[in-house]
């Protein structure tokens, strides 16, 4: 699957040579303009590799109306330019297509980077019909991916200029992290997150949209919900008044704006009156009421649907499985749904069967806020322990760091009957005791709030050069 197209400029995107000896530079090739727009709409990024001076990027963006997330202008090998672009975007070079009218440039890239798909401009007109350029599902986040990359670049630039700590920077950015129940409409995006994220992914395998839909469906029939108006932490010091009695905060009509959680004080929305299962802090169910039978029936179906979809959950889904959606936005832009967490209430505690977060959200306090939120939600539900089974990969070290910071301790786990684990996979269960008094007070009490430095604010490391593509 192609994630980014790297374009030459002269006689590729433009109908001529940018630096004409006389007069105005040429206009855009209308056929390529159409291709640019079509692919952008599918979540495929565009970048420029040109022999022209850097100002060409702005000109090409203007005449084509397209967003280019990276531009390499210079005289070194285009294969090197492609490698730098891949590095900047955090994707592998095997996810790049390169378009150039010059056969020499195409040959150079083909030779140096055989994994790159190399095309002539005339071939690109039919490319939108090829499977490499046709993702099965295009989520709202994917369609806006170019814009999200631009937002990130502006945020990073501001972070480098910013004089304070990372926490201060995030505050200045007006970072809003919103944690609430996932809706059925989120299923595609959740599946995309589970497949495309690696650094903050506990399962190291994808769960299909159908699986998420089933899990969410169970939650949706499990109990009534109270409609809650928009409420944001920071603006509304006590979100409880807008919540019906017995309904936890954060509760909401699916799809409605949910209380935001600021990085410095996540879970400001905590309501300590709750007791129950993971779904409850997010809005489902009556206080202390047993789960409706429909929930159990749905859960069984969910488990079978999951199995049919080829996904063996780390822990089998029960009637108390709940799916959380984590959304992120700030003054630079709206990142949309960046993280998810599937929780399951057991006898003594909650098990988090999946934790996944986009790398775009890294360094912005999201994972810490989510863990703090979980701990607090567990505490106010009277839960004594949180357990997060995880596959250990070289890539998800960031997840382990976040878990360690939040006070989780791991023990190596044997693959259960060999069914859930693939051969050679290292697995562990991260556990954390939950104290009743963690239901109240700032989330800092969870030890999950860390202060970083401004130099790294918003930067995303790519531990192996070809990392998360979300």
């Amino acid at each position: 699957m192609v994630k980014c197209v790297v374009w030459d400029v002269d006689y590729t995107l433009l109908d001529g040579v940018f630096l004409e000896a006389d007069g105005e530079p040429p206009g855009a090739d209308p056929a390529m303009v159409a291709v640019l727009a079509e692919l952008s709409g599918r979540g495929i990024l565009h970048a420029i590799a040109s022999r022209n001076p850097p100002e060409v990027a702005e000109y090409v963006a203007r005449v084509t109306g397209a967003v280019f997330v990276a531009a390499e202008c210079g005289w070194d090998a285009k294969s090197d330019a492609i490698a730098r672009i891949a590095d900047t975007l955090g994707i592998g070079t095997d996810a790049i297509a390169f378009v150039d009218d010059d056969p020499y440039e195409r040959a150079e890239v083909s030779f140096a980077r055989p994994e790159v798909m190399v095309l002539a401009p005339e071939e690109m007109t039919s490319a939108p019909g090829w499977p490499e350029f046709s993702p099965a599902v295009v989520t709202a986040e994917a369609a806006r991916r170019s814009q999200l990359y631009l937002d990130r670049q502006r945020r990073q630039a501001a972070g480098r200029e910013f004089g304070g700590s990372r926490e201060e920077f995030l505050r200045w950015c007006q970072t809003e992290i919103t944690i609430g129940p996932a809706a059925l409409a989120d299923a595609d995006r959740l599946a995309e997150l589970s497949a495309r994220t690696h650094q903050f992914n506990s399962a190291a395998r994808a769960l299909p949209a159908a699986g998420f839909a089933e899990l969410i469906g169970v939650g949706e029939v499990a109990g009534p919900r109270a409609a809650v108006g928009p409420a944001r932490a920071g603006e509304d010091a006590d979100p409880r008044p807008v919540v019906g009695p017995g309904e936890p905060t954060g509760a909401g009509e699916v799809g409605s704006p949910r209380p935001a959680v600021a990085p410095a004080g996540p879970a400001e929305d905590a309501d300590p009156r709750r007791a129950g299962v993971p779904g409850e802090p997010t809005g489902a169910g009556e206080v202390g009421s047993p789960r409706p039978a429909a929930g159990s029936a749905g859960a069984g179906e969910a488990a079978s649907a999951l199995a049919a979809a080829g996904f063996t959950p780390l822990v089998a889904a029960g009637d108390s499985a709940r799916v959380l959606a984590v959304r992120l936005r700030d003054r630079f832009g709206d990142d949309g749904l960046v993280g998810t967490c599937v929780t399951e209430a057991g006898h003594d505690g909650w098990t988090v069967t999946l934790l996944a977060m986009s790398c775009r959200a890294m360094g912005r306090g999201v994972i810490d806020a989510l863990l703090a939120w979980l701990i607090k939600a567990a505490a106010r539900s009277g839960v004594r322990e949180l357990a997060i089974p995880a596959v250990l990969t070289p890539r998800n070290v960031p997840l382990r760091l976040a878990l360690a910071a939040a006070g989780f301790r791991a023990s190596e786990a044997e693959p259960a009957g060999g069914s859930a684990g693939e051969a050679g996979q290292r697995r562990a269960v991260f556990r954390r005791a939950v104290d009743a008094d963690e239901a109240a007070g700032p989330a800092d009490a969870a030890g999950a709030s860390g202060a970083g430095g401004e130099a790294t604010a918003g930067e995303v490391p790519n531990a192996d050069g070809a990392d998360d593509s979300d």
Partner: protein, 124 residues
């Protein structure tokens, strides 16, 4: 008695916050006995080096004088997963020790002193 205690307490000696980071302070060589590695770097010097590295990666110059025994996670230094990832990657690159692969719970990251000690042990 005092010498013995100093040796044992080398990793956890208080008051290490003051002197410059990697400069071999006058007391550094005295305390270095049990911690001298085959690279010639003492445990304290290594911890100081790591402190410089952390301050740089985190973009927080004030960490250059942080206590080597201050907890890295939580209220101490507040190491976030982003900076932590960069730190572990740089440790792997510089010292050839893959902490994440060898230390399931990342206990090595309890403090800069413990990280230095972990690296020392693995490099021998």
């Amino acid at each position: 008695m005092t010498e013995q205690r100093q040796g044992e307490a080398g990793e956890t000696a208080p008051g290490l916050a003051g002197p410059g980071p990697s400069g071999p302070g006058p007391s550094g060589s005295e305390r270095s006995g049990p911690f001298r590695s085959n690279s010639g770097l003492t445990g304290l010097e290594l911890a100081g080096e790591l402190r410089e590295l952390l301050a740089e990666l985190a973009g927080r110059p004030e960490l250059r004088t942080a206590d080597l025994d201050l907890p890295l996670f939580g209220a101490g230094i507040g190491l976030d997963s982003l900076t932590g990832t960069l730190l572990l990657r740089e440790v792997h690159r510089r010292y050839g020790v893959d902490v994440a692969a060898e230390d399931l719970n990342l206990d090595a990251l309890a403090s800069l002193a413990s990280l230095a000690s972990f690296i020392e042990t693995r490099r021998r």
